[in-house]
Symmetry: C2
Subunit: 210 residues, 2 copies
Amino acid sequence: MSKGKAISQQVIKRLPRYFSHLGYLMESDVSRVSSMELAGQMNLTASQIRQDLNHFGCFGQQGYGYNVRILREAIGKILGLDREYGLIIIGAGNLGQALANYTRFENMGFVVKAVFDISPEICGRRVGKCVVKHIDELEDYTASGKVDIAALTLKSKGAQDVVNRIVKAGITAVWNFASFELKVPEGVIVEDVHLLDSLMMLSYNLHSND
Amino acid sequence: MSKGKAISQQVIKRLPRYFSHLGYLMESDVSRVSSMELAGQMNLTASQIRQDLNHFGCFGQQGYGYNVRILREAIGKILGLDREYGLIIIGAGNLGQALANYTRFENMGFVVKAVFDISPEICGRRVGKCVVKHIDELEDYTASGKVDIAALTLKSKGAQDVVNRIVKAGITAVWNFASFELKVPEGVIVEDVHLLDSLMMLSYNLHSND
């Protein structure tokens, strides 16, 4: 199965959508689906779906369609979901707590290993399965345990300093919830989730429809 | 100031980034900034920034740059942030609770008016400033109060039914956290925040870098 470089980011970005949607079909006891049906359900075209999946060697059968479970497993494998990732959360406010408590991440292989905060009032409290550690324990912790991804749920001030420490500690994937333009060296991946940005797109659209 | 139709979605989508970044500069007591400086800070080019802002009549001055506060106010106005929006949250799990407790939304004019859930164990509990209502009270509530935006933090199953009810109740903006491809009629705006998708992009990149 070919993977990686030659495939456009646009195709890659649709894979999680396929994966989630196929999961929904499985929950709904749907065992096979055609590219036409998928297209209707996902607001894509059938030919786009066939092209996307052909990239990865996932072929449907004429007159049968795709086997939902097998297709989902194949896409999961491409997405690297056949192994476990150690996740740390930095910032134990409302959002950090919600992430730490969200059991679905763990079901998908993203295991919250530790939660850090700077506030003495929060450190020592239990959040999800973890007791919140002080951010000054970060380097000792990352030196001794396997951490793949750091989720940042900090305020913008201070976020860059923390990222510098994360990168120095050898973590190469940052899930960034801070409303801040992070600077990272080449080789470090950042996925931004800017909640306020999407809310502002709603207000923009509501406002400009007036 | 011109607004809307003629301006590309790509430009519009950068406005929240400018707005947040200028807020960060204000917090850091920076009162003026050049397009060159902004470019370095935001990983954009200076000419792109000048072009973007010219669309909206926000001109910097040669040798002075932009006044941070005035530019932020102007962008906020374009984004519709000079008024208040009523927000309801549907789904009072971890994520719904985090959103209800996130005071920054209210500071920006997004006021959480009510929180709904389906579970009898959660209904009646206090979440943020609200007491959780049963989802069956949705229609009565929306009939009597002003709701602009519905945030959906439900599991995928049942999300479409709830959206149908939201749309029927006249709400035209959905902030969707459910991992589900919502179907809405024309005129209803959906902003998706698929947390799991971004996590899967991280696992894909970690995995394919091996």
